[in-house]
């Protein structure tokens, strides 16, 4: 054992990092409680709360009735009272019964009461496709939440970020919709410090620096985007991959700065194209940096259809071949 001061490191998957983040915040602050369906003894259907019930007891890791509006609505009341609830919705496709509570109340208490009441709540939900799940288990509807002022929307793409962003979200005085890309819950491991730390909300991460094309993405699409960037690098196209991490507030500064250098952009998301955030990012770039633009901005997205059952989901999800084609088209335009 070294006598030097050292940070304990664990090799964790993303879902383990979520659990580690929850555990750290619950140890740090007694007001943090976890509530939802099957989060207690069962440890969550994805095991994101495994062991927390045993460690913190049923007053802090609470199995609720099967009722999403009730879960979100009571969590809003708890948060307005001053606690820091972290409700889990088992799949983001089941958030809609709680949608009214999210947009009509969680997002509005601060403004409605001019700051007298705030809602320090983090609503966690596994989201996105690619895991061969039944209907309603695979959608990417982050745009619903980014459309609502008063909500922050976070999508981690790595274990390190998952823990740090979750900690920052829990400590934030305002509500966060924390969407966990379940396709990469266990896809890879990363070194994650044992101690608690935060990753600031609202800051994008440049995952790969490049000079020719800027690629903006988040969550589970970050990895195929990086794969595509490596593939086209062999053809001499140097792609900068920016992982937005927080979708609201969006790190416009990093997006615009990158685009001003490359003049070319590809936006990649799983969500359908129409009304998706690629449109918002494109419009922002045009407002802020139109005179730097060298080529049409490409959008690589899901299709404008209901998310298909899994026999067809590989065609629906953007993958590196589609992303590579878009990069080449943008580069050559």
């Amino acid at each position: 054992m070294s006598t030097e001061q050292q940070v304990e490191i664990q090799n964790l998957t993303l879902v383990q990092a979520v659990r580690d983040g929850l555990r750290g915040e619950m140890q740090r602050d007694e007001d943090v409680v976890v509530l939802g369906e099957d989060v207690g003894q069962n440890g969550g259907v994805f095991r994101a709360t495994e062991g927390l019930y045993e460690e913190f007891g049923d007053d802090r890791v609470i199995d609720t009735p099967l009722a999403e509006a009730g879960i979100v609505g009571t969590a809003v009341g708890m948060a307005a009272y001053g606690m820091r609830p972290v409700p889990e919705i088992q799949f983001s496709g089941f958030m809609y019964p709680g949608f009214d509570q999210i947009v009509s109340h969680a997002a509005r208490f601060r403004t409605r009461s001019r700051g007298r009441f705030t809602v320090p709540m983090v609503l966690r939900a596994p989201y996105g496709g690619g895991i061969r799940a039944p209907e309603h288990h695979s959608e990417s509807k982050e745009a619903f939440y980014t459309h609502e002022a008063g909500l922050q929307v976070v999508v981690p793409s790595t274990p390190y970020d998952a823990k740090g962003l979750l900690a920052a979200s829990i400590r934030d005085p305002d509500p966060v919709v924390f969407l966990e890309p379940k396709l990469i819950y266990r896809a890879f491991r990363e070194e994650v410090p044992d101690d608690d730390y935060t990753v600031d909300l609202g800051e994008a991460a440049v995952r790969r620096e490049g000079e020719d094309v800027s690629l903006f993405t988040w969550g589970a699409m970050t990895r195929p985007s990086l794969d595509a960037a490596e593939a086209v690098a062999e053809e001499g196209i140097d792609v900068e991959v920016v992982d937005l991490r927080t979708l609201s507030p969006m790190d416009v500064e990093t997006i615009v700065e990158s685009f001003k250098r490359t003049g070319r952009a590809v936006v990649v998301h799983e969500a359908p194209k129409t009304g998706g955030l690629a449109g918002e990012i494109t419009a922002t770039i045009q407002e802020e940096a139109l005179y730097h633009q060298e080529a049409p901005i490409a959008r690589v997205t899901g299709f404008d259809v209901p998310y298909p059952l899994y026999a067809l989901e590989d065609y629906y999800m953007p993958e590196h071949a589609r992303i590579e084609d878009a990069i080449r088209d943008t580069h050559d335009a």
Partner: protein, 348 residues
């Protein structure tokens, strides 16, 4: 046996329509000053309401939801709250919020389109909630949080209307309250009409209060235009929320929450944008006006036994930096008998 433990169809009443104490009814333990203050607040709420509608008609205020007819339920219930209790209103509780310490000019400010009227500094009142029934889970959650933190001296009164009982949020809010045994009093202002849709069209259930039984706690129907009966049941429900009887482990029933159905009538429109003559006849309105809570209490007052102070009494909150209510209605001047202060409120 507590007042709450009764068949939900057995409506609690203290004063009859003429303000006489009904046979066998127990008058709540309120002294003269408290009763006069209750009366004064009801008159003030009525006058405020008339002025607010008038301001809207003059184009000086936006859409406003009137409360006339509902003063007994609002003032009677709010007066029952203790210093550390909380109020979770819908959007018609101007009178209740006033008793709880919200100044009337703040209510006007809110309805004149300025959120600052809803900032409720240092008051234990949740902000106005417009979407029907959506505040019910908040009351459950906040009460649950108070319980988890061990703040046993806090209970929550949540207001909503008869239409709200049809919403999913009513079900989920009351269901969670039962499962987690939260200190929440669900106060349903059954004013017979959800805009134009009558009470019978909301549910085939005989009463609204009996819905509590499905959630494992008590429901009680009270004459919502009898401020003394409302005070009495709310007071008991709040006491039960904070000092529940030993849980009956075998039945698994919740011991803290209560659903109160206060049967009453909205004399005016749903809001100033509504014309009730389209859906209800004047005869019905007149029938209910015979139960008007203000003359009822006014008729009762001269017959009160003379008492200065005794037991827990209603208090209008004042703002404090701690957010608690130190007690004390606004100064009512003389402590001698008589109702001079009530008369003086006519000048509002």
């Amino acid at each position: 046996m507590s007042t709450l433990q009764r068949d939900p169809r057995d409506r609690v009443q203290v004063l009859d329509d003429d303000g006489r104490v009904v046979d066998g009814a127990e008058v709540p333990d309120l002294d003269d000053d408290d009763l006069v203050e209750m009366y004064r607040s009801m008159r003030l709420a009525r006058h405020f309401d008339e002025r607010a509608v008038s301001l809207q008609r003059q184009g000086r205020m936006g859409t406003y939801p009137p409360l006339s007819g509902q003063e007994g339920a609002q003032i009677g219930s709010a007066a029952a709250l203790g210093e550390s209790d909380w109020m979770v209103p819908s959007y018609r509780e101007h009178g209740a919020a006033y008793v709880r310490g919200l100044e009337l000019h703040e209510t006007l400010r809110y309805w004149m389109g300025d959120e600052r009227g809803n900032s409720l500094e240092d008051l234990r009142i949740f902000p106005v909630a417009v979407p029907i029934a959506s505040q019910i889970p908040h009351a459950t959650g906040a009460a649950w949080a108070a319980d988890l933190r061990g703040n046993d001296d806090e209970a929550f009164v949540c207001y909503f209307g008869d239409g709200a009982t049809s919403e999913g949020d009513f079900h989920e809010g009351l269901n969670f309250a039962g499962v987690f045994d939260t200190p929440t009093v669900f106060f349903c202002n059954n004013n017979q009409w959800a805009i134009s849709v009558p009470r019978e069209r909301q549910t085939a259930s005989e009463t609204l209060s009996q819905k509590a039984h499905a959630y494992g706690f008590e429901g009680v129907q009270v004459d919502g235009m009898d401020p003394l009966a409302v005070y009495k049941v709310t007071r008991e429900a709040l006491q039960k929320a904070k000092n529940p009887a030993a849980a009956d482990e075998a039945s698994g029933r919740a011991t803290r929450p209560t659903l109160i159905e206060a049967v009453q009538y909205r004399f005016g429109a749903h809001t100033t944008a509504d014309d009730p003559s389209v859906y209800r006849d004047e005869e019905e309105v007149e029938r209910w006006k015979a139960k008007d809570p203000i003359p009822r209490l006014e008729n009762y007052l001269p017959s009160t036994p003379r008492r200065r102070s005794s037991g827990p009494s209603p208090r209008r909150c004042s703002s404090t930096s701690t957010g608690t209510c130190p007690g004390g209605w606004p100064s009512s001047g003389s402590t001698s008998s008589g109702f001079g202060t009530a008369t003086a409120t006519r000048s509002y």
